[in-house]
């Protein structure tokens, strides 16, 4: 049924730390690997070794430059996959019921055997989270590794999305954002986790932690005065330095 559930028992999702992501694409390829071999059809690649090569990916890492009013430009790496929205427009537009939001955990999934590949869900998604697989003709999207997180064939510690398990910098966190006491909810509260395109009204479950302020080391003015004493000279030339040295060694 492509109506959305009134509410879900959990709100499983990701918290992505833009302060820590180094843009290594580990999550991108780990996702590609797991989801090519697992849930549904493989993620195909066209012109794999030629020009205009492209393929289906469920997670991609963008990068942006932010120019603050003063100071150096900053570079932010920005991973993006399905945000498993509470008001998922991709679900309600689906004419076949292939797209649905799971009532038990809020994961938005595509039932590939029902998908006609009309693409409307991708049109409805503001985040570019859905890609129509060119070989299979069905819509692919992040499953939050629904075939990992409950998988009894995996050790318990591995029951998390492939992208989270692999992230070297620890910039990706997985958990229940519906539970205010969960680690991820705490992290969101502490770090001011934010929604992407809140004005679209999709109520994304995934949150992004904003980059911490950068280039804050003061190089002048009152703020620098706090640091200045650490460089208070003990001497102005080598001779004075050596007599300071002698005195200091005496004290040691």
């Amino acid at each position: 049924m492509t109506t959305l559930p009134q509410q879900t028992e959990k709100k499983l999702g990701l918290v992505i730390d833009l302060d820590t992501c180094v843009g290594c694409h580990a999550c991108v390829i780990s996702c590609k690997g797991w989801n090519t071999e697992n849930y549904g059809a493989p993620l195909s690649d066209q012109n794999a070794y030629g020009a205009d090569n492209n393929g289906t990916f469920l997670n991609r890492v963008h990068s942006y430059e932010v120019q603050p009013e003063a100071g150096a430009a900053q570079l932010i790496h920005f991973p993006k996959s399905c945000l498993h929205c509470e008001d998922a427009p991709c679900v309600t537009v689906c004419p076949t019921g292939a797209s649905y939001k799971r009532v038990e955990d809020g994961i938005v999934l595509v039932n590939e055997t029902d998908c006609i590949g009309c693409g409307l869900c991708a049109w409805a998604c503001p985040y570019g989270a859905r890609e129509l697989d060119q070989a299979e003709g069905v819509m692919k999207k992040c499953t939050l590794c629904v075939d990992r997180i409950y998988n009894e064939n995996l050790p318990e510690e591995d029951r998390q999305p492939a992208c989270v398990r692999t992230c070297p910098a620890g910039a990706r966190h997985f958990g229940d954002l519906g539970d205010p006491d969960s680690d991820v909810s705490q992290l969101v509260a502490e770090r001011g986790g934010m929604d992407l395109m809140p004005e679209q009204g999709t109520k994304p479950v995934n949150k992004y932690l904003p980059p911490r302020p950068k280039d804050t080391l003061p190089d002048a003015g009152v703020e620098f005065d706090v640091l200045a004493p650490f460089l208070e000279p003990v001497a102005d030339e080598p001779k004075g330095f050596l007599s300071w040295l002698d005195k200091t060694l005496e004290k040691l």
Binding site: G55, S63, Q74, P89, T96, I116, C118, P126, Y127
Partner: protein
């Protein structure tokens, strides 16, 4: 958005076909027998042909039947029901006219309503998309409906009505352009809100996630030059409205009527191409494109 020929043909011709069916449903023109058959054949050819064209953009057309299941929530599903309903009712109604020389008035009116409802549901598929501010406007359904009714009038040979309706449709079309040009800005969605980085400074897309292309870029990002678009708008309004009206104002001849119709269709196709090609999906912002 990628201006896919399948959806351009679908919306143009199904709009015309259902528009004609609506006119036929209210008994304008009053036709029976083989004349009716000819009218209905044209209407069905366009409506069904358009619907068939739309299946070309499906990844899995063989499962298209599943699209009937989600009428509660999905405009596409509702469109499917309306189309089938309209075609069925109008089929029965048409059979009465063609084979029994009888007009089942109520059936015709219901069929006409369903025909217009089909066009409306089609328009709602686009209108509902907040992701495409240029489409997400209250005026969008009026554009589809007015064009459908005007084109239907042309097809139905309703010269007087057609002239007036074409003027109205042309006005609405022009209004959608004016309003549409401000829609993305007006939506408040920017690269700043898309990334959440807007409060830290001005945001610029740097390296894209992949150096190559992908489904999203192919489907949602289509860049046409502003000058080029303005030219096409002019051409489309001339072909869609001005030239047909001029031709209709000339002393009537079937040749001129067909020419007027052809011009109108070419104009609508151009406008529909622009409808897609100029539509900025907000996902383009993530790629530094619109």
């Amino acid at each position: 958005m990628h201006p896919a020929p399948s959806v351009i043909f679908f919306t143009t011709f199904s709009g015309l076909g259902f528009g004609l069916l609506a006119w036929l449903g209210i008994g304008t023109p009053e036709v029976t027998g083989w004349t009716a058959f000819a009218f209905f054949a044209i209407a069905y050819l366009m409506a069904v042909g358009g619907l068939l064209a739309s299946t070309f953009h499906l990844g899995r057309p063989e499962r298209a039947i599943k699209a009937f299941t989600q009428w509660r929530s999905s405009w596409l599903s509702r469109e499917a029901w309306c189309a089938v309903g309209a075609l069925t009712l109008m089929g029965l109604y048409g059979a009465g006219l063609v084979f029994f020389e009888t007009r089942f008035g109520l059936l015709g009116i219901l069929g006409a309503l369903l025909s217009l409802a089909t066009v409306f549901t089609t328009s709602m598929i686009y209108t509902q998309l907040k992701t495409i501010p240029r489409w997400n406007m209250a005026i969008t359904p009026f554009k589809f409906l007015s064009l459908s009714i005007a084109g239907g009038a042309l097809l139905a040979g309703q010269v007087q009505a057609a002239i007036i309706l074409l003027l109205i449709a042309g006005g609405i079309q022009a209004a959608t352009w004016v309003m549409g040009d401000k829609a993305l800005t007006g939506s408040g969605t920017t690269l700043g809100t898309a990334t959440g980085l807007g409060q830290n400074g001005s945001v610029r897309a740097f390296e894209p996630p992949h150096t190559g292309t992908n489904y999203l870029l192919k489907e949602f990002v289509h860049v046409i030059g502003r000058k080029h678009a303005a030219k096409l708008r002019m051409i489309s309004i001339i072909l869609m409205v001005v030239l047909p009206i001029v031709l209709l104002l000339l002393p009537f001849s079937h040749f001129l009527a067909v020419l007027a119709l052809a011009s109108h269709v070419a104009g609508v196709l151009t406008a529909r191409w622009l409808f897609f090609a100029q539509a900025e999906h907000v996902v383009g912002l993530y790629y530094g494109k619109r």
